[in-house]
């Protein structure tokens, strides 16, 4: 385990003569926001990496003790701001669990469609910024071009493009506008060939493979020990996805949907789509696999959305009424983890019977995923650090809250 | 019209002044990177002198090997070995005395040596102007191959004259030149030797890891 450094100046005095102590961040182009990595390097070789967090702390959890659950929804938007829909969903579900409320059928499929669109949007950013980390700019803009289309769809349903506050306790703020589903399907149709472009530009690119294959290899045991989740965990070949393995109140949402968890089993990924083969340089659990899992999850999410659209069209009941602001919460506590794009996002709420929760907490997947960098980056080169940290795809807003 | 300024002399003096001034600056500087920088300027000015003399090959060589290669390696070495950011070097007064003695002795040898070469003195400007036309790199390469450049303008090769059919030998005169050993092989041996030394030095200096 890497040790926490309180004052880097103290460290600088006891480093050996040929070592250098470098601050990577919080103002650094490749640290995805305000992450600060303290590197101890011997030339280009990194001997120790210590992540320093807290530069984006906004006391969101404390604020949650002073707001009713629906008022706290905008604060969850700003946790993982790249997948705000999934954050909304996590908080909404935990309150619904506390209240033992079940959303209507139509609202359930609507949430699936929105959550999976959010996952695609998030993974597109992960892909594009990973390209940036490796020094290629163009995939980033290709990714954002498609993400913008998703944001257009989101804008139509809720009026916002980044912080939606759309999924809320009890349902969603508004139903889909008319014609939205056709637009959504059209988007999915045109995304299929674009994904092949991404594969050509990054996944199968010789330099990309050189930069990612066998870099930052994480064994399944290590990934579990560090509490990693999401694509980071599945990239190590652990077959675990809360949409299938989670609590009933969450898996009920995906009840009846056909999907296979994207994780390598017996040397193979589930193949429901044409995508490139694993290069021979790649080892299970390396940066390349983590990237690849995300790319496959985009295809998986597209499939889920298509299923959701079919089911949504068949459903006849409403999309669910948002909970009243003055409604009192039942006394007790509830904790629920959902499968956000970056991993298991947990929300915890304790209520003393008032409308305002007594305690609101969030468990961030990025936090656990980030903390393994100290282990993964030991002995790597400086250039591998963006390659590893980028493949973990952390969002500081979620870690610092 | 007017010959107010004789340009070759002007540039010679300019380059020579720069070379000397920065050579002195190397001595006076205490910061090792600045020393390296001054040395580069001094060596570049020397390269300029070579170009001025029409020895373009030597000038380019000077730029490439001394200014380019050696200085980069020197800086590299300084950066790799220095433990503080800006390394300061102080010269002891005893060292100054020794340096002056040795420098003065070298100068005393070099100056008479330079003036003792008869070809280097008494040239008029027309002769100087013609120098740059004949100084090409080719003789150097040919010399390495064993061709005596300085003897090529001899009217008859002995063995050519010995040939019974003079007309045929005129068509292919070059075939008759006996192949001389040249210096290329020796040159190669020396360079390979240097390479071996470099590899050996790198091997000896490499960091030893525990496992």
């Amino acid at each position: 385990m890497s040790t926490l450094v309180d004052d880097p100046r103290i460290m600088e005095f006891d480093v050996r003569t040929d070592e250098m102590l470098i601050n990577m961040g919080p103002q650094h182009p490749s640290t995805h926001g305000v992450l600060r990595l303290v590197l101890r390097t011997d030339g280009e070789v990194v001997s120790e990496v210590t992540p320093q967090i807290g530069y984006l702390h906004r006391s969101a959890e404390k604020i949650g003790e002073n707001l009713v659950p629906r008022q706290w929804i905008p604060y969850t938007d700003r946790m993982d701001y790249l997948a705000a829909m999934n954050m909304n969903l996590g908080w909404a579900l935990v309150i619904e669990k506390l209240m033992r409320y079940e959303p209507p059928e139509k609202g359930r499929h609507l949430r699936v469609i929105i959550a999976e669109l959010g996952r695609i949007a998030s993974h597109l950013v992960a892909m594009g910024t990973y390209g940036l980390d490796l020094g290629t700019f163009s995939p980033f803009l290709y990714a954002f071009r498609e993400r913008e289309k998703i944001l257009d769809l989101f804008e139509e349903v809720c009026g916002a493009r980044l912080t939606y506050s759309y999924i809320t306790v009890g349902g969603v703020t508004a139903d889909f506008p008319s014609g939205w589903l056709q637009k959504c399907e059209a988007f999915l149709d045109q995304l299929v060939p674009v994904i092949d472009e991404y594969h050509a530009l990054l996944t199968t690119n010789a330099i990309f493979i050189k930069r990612t294959a066998s870099i930052g290899t994480m064994s399944p045991e290590m990934a579990i020990d560090y509490g990693c989740s999401g694509p980071v965990l599945r990239g190590s070949g652990v077959d675990h996805d809360l949409r299938r393995d989670g609590e009933d109140i969450y898996t009920a949402m995906y009840d009846g949907y056909a999907f296979e968890v994207v994780a390598e089993k017996d040397g193979h990924y589930p193949r429901d789509h044409q995508y490139p083969a694993v290069p021979h340089e790649a080892r299970l659990g390396d940066s390349w696999h983590r990237f690849y899992v995300r790319m496959l999850e985009v295809i998986q999410s597209m499939d889920l959305i298509r299923q959701g659209i079919d089911r949504y069209s068949l459903a006849t009941d409403g999309h669910g009424e948002p909970m009243k602001l003055t409604q009192k919460l039942p006394k007790g506590e509830a904790y629920l983890e959902t499968e956000a794009p970056r991993g298991q996002m947990g929300f915890y709420v304790v209520s003393d019977g008032n409308a305002i929760p007594w305690r609101a907490r969030a468990r961030s997947s990025s936090f656990s995923n980030l903390w393994i960098t100290g282990q993964l980056c030991r002995g790597c080169l400086i250039a591998d650090i963006p390659s590893i940290v980028g493949s973990l795809d952390v969002v500081m807003g979620e870690i610092d809250r | 019209m007017g010959e107010a300024i004789y340009w070759p002399s002007f540039f010679f003096l300019l380059f020579a002044a720069v070379a000397c001034a920065f050579a002195v600056a190397v001595l006076l500087a205490t910061n090792i990177v600045r020393m390296a920088f001054y040395l580069v300027v001094s060596l570049s000015a020397t390269a300029g002198l070579f170009f001025l003399a029409g020895a373009e090959f030597v000038g380019a060589m000077q730029l490439m090997i001394y200014v380019g290669g050696t200085m980069v390696l020197l800086i590299f070495g300084v950066m790799l070995t220095s433990q503080e950011r800006f390394v300061e070097m102080k010269t002891w007064s005893g060292d100054w005395v020794f340096a002056f003695l040795i420098g003065a002795m070298l100068l005393m040898i070099l100056i008479p040596a330079a003036f003792s070469v008869p070809q280097w003195s008494g040239l008029d400007r027309a002769e100087v102007a013609s120098v740059s036309e004949v100084n090409m790199a080719t003789p150097l390469g040919m010399g390495l191959l064993g061709v005596r450049v300085d003897q090529l303008d001899r009217p008859h090769q002995p063995d050519v004259a010995a040939q019974p059919d003079g007309a045929e030998s005129q068509k292919e005169p070059a075939r008759q030149v006996p192949i001389q050993p040249g210096y290329l092989l020796l040159f190669e041996i020396v360079s390979v030797h240097l390479l071996v030394v470099l590899v050996g030095a790198a091997y000896l200096a490499r960091a030893r890891r525990a496992n």
């Binding site: 250039a383 | 990177v33 920088f37 009217p155 008859h156």
Partner: protein
């Protein structure tokens, strides 16, 4: 030029004006080139990335965008870190730029010294031009290293170290690739190498034999690496080293590094074109067909040269565009992979190509286009000319004054060593030795 001017004015003024004209021409080429290439880079990257690129400044295509950028850079605050070595920090960008600029001194822009009948368009004719350009281009790294060292920033230092390691190692295969055309042309004189490729595109040295063909691509790779362009842009690797060696630079000083970068890009492209891609000769000898040669007077000749200049610059711009295209497509290599590419692939391949080209030249000395065509008569003169002169003049040195050379041998008349009105012995050496080797 200076000699011509000195008929009208004092010689010192003539020399000064002649020198100034060259300086201004080269400076405007480099600065204009940088203006064009930065615009081109923005435009090409825009198109590659499904954007338009600049569209507003200066009309429809945003072609004045670079100028606007330059004005913005002028107004930026000139920052200097507190712990910096102030003198070296100030000097470093100018050293980079000066080195990049100096390479243009020896690059000929239109030749025809031998075929068209007059001196090439070059600021200073250097008979070891190839060597000189390589040597000077290698100096650019010095500015980078000084910048990295004097910035008092660890990121800058890392960038400088990477640059030094990279440039020093890539000079080896680069030099070897350059030697291949030098070997075929039998000269280090850039204008001579260029004119060796006159006529149809089949005479271009890239098509001379399979080895030169591969050597060209190795040269392109190494040249990209030596001017620090992606995927070898490790010295300024944004995602790793913030901005590498120029992290601490701002404003005009920063822009000098970029002028140097674009200047070097153009000069290595020019070198590639001169060495491999027919220099100032187009794929078809249109200038000759149109009669724009020395036989038809000075105006025709200079028009032909102008055509050659345009030809050369167009090809060089294509070369730069390829570098831009590559930059916006590929991810960046890691430092160890860059060095591996150099030492394990480029250097052995370049060495092999050098050996192969030597053997090919030995086996098919006067063939071109992969051995399929003859080297045309005009080009043949170029190489054989002086030797024929020797044969014509017999063995007596007195008669070798160049007066009895047949008129059709323009090549011989204009040989640089003859311009001084005398023939040196060294002229005859390469040809004799070539003949002996056969």
């Amino acid at each position: 030029m200076a000699l011509y001017l000195s008929n009208f004015m004092w010689s010192w003024l003539a020399y000064t004006i002649a020198a100034l004209v060259h300086v201004v021409l080269i400076l405007s080429l480099v600065a204009g080139g940088a203006l064009l290439f930065i615009w081109l880079e923005r435009k090409i990257s825009g198109r590659i990335q499904d954007r338009l690129g600049p569209t507003r400044v200066g009309g429809k295509f945003g072609w004045l965008q670079t100028l606007a950028d330059g004005l913005k850079l002028l107004t930026k605050e000139d920052l200097m870190p507190e712990g910096a070595d102030r003198m070296l920090f100030r000097l470093a960008p100018y050293i980079s730029f000066a080195a990049s600029l100096a390479a243009y001194i020896a690059i000929p822009f239109a030749g025809g010294a031998y075929l068209l009948g007059a001196a090439p368009w070059v600021a200073q004719h250097v008979n070891v031009g190839v060597f000189f350009v390589l040597a000077v281009l290698g100096l650019e790294v010095f500015g980078t290293i000084l910048a990295g060292y004097s910035s008092a920033s660890k990121w800058s230092l890392f960038g400088a170290m990477r640059e030094a390691a990279q440039v020093v190692s890539y000079e080896v295969p680069l030099g070897m690739c350059v030697v291949v055309p030098v070997l075929i042309a039998g000269s280090m004189d850039l204008s001579l190498i260029g004119d060796r490729q006159a006529g149809l595109f089949t005479n271009w040295l890239i098509f001379h034999d399979p080895f030169t063909f591969i050597a060209f691509w190795v040269y392109l790779t190494c040249a990209t690496a030596s001017v620090n362009r992606a995927p070898f842009d490790l010295a300024e690797a944004e995602s790793e080293l913030v901005a590498g060696f120029h992290t601490e630079y701002s404003g005009l000083r920063w822009s000098f590094f970029f002028m140097a970068e674009y200047g070097s890009m153009l000069s290595v492209s020019l070198l590639a074109v001169i060495l491999f891609l027919g220099a100032w000769h187009g794929p078809l000898p249109i200038a000759t067909w149109l009669g724009l040669t020395a036989e038809h007077g000075a105006i025709a000749m200079n028009l032909g040269k102008l055509l050659g200049l345009i030809n050369l610059l167009l090809k060089a711009v294509v070369g730069v565009s390829v570098m831009i295209w590559v930059r916006w497509t590929l991810p960046r290599l890691r430092i160890d992979q860059v060095i591996t590419t150099c030492l394990k692939y480029c250097t052995p391949i370049a060495a092999g190509m050098l050996l192969g080209a030597t053997l090919w030249q030995y086996q098919f000395p006067s063939r071109s286009f992969f051995g399929l065509t003859e080297v045309p008569q005009a080009v043949y003169h170029l190489r054989e000319g002086p030797q024929q002169a020797v044969q014509n003049s017999g063995s007596s040195p007195e008669s070798r004054e160049g007066t009895d050379v047949p008129e059709d041998e323009i090549a011989t008349v204009n040989h640089p060593a003859r311009r001084g009105g005398q023939v040196s012995a060294s002229d005859t050496i390469p040809q004799e030795s070539i003949a002996r080797l056969r």
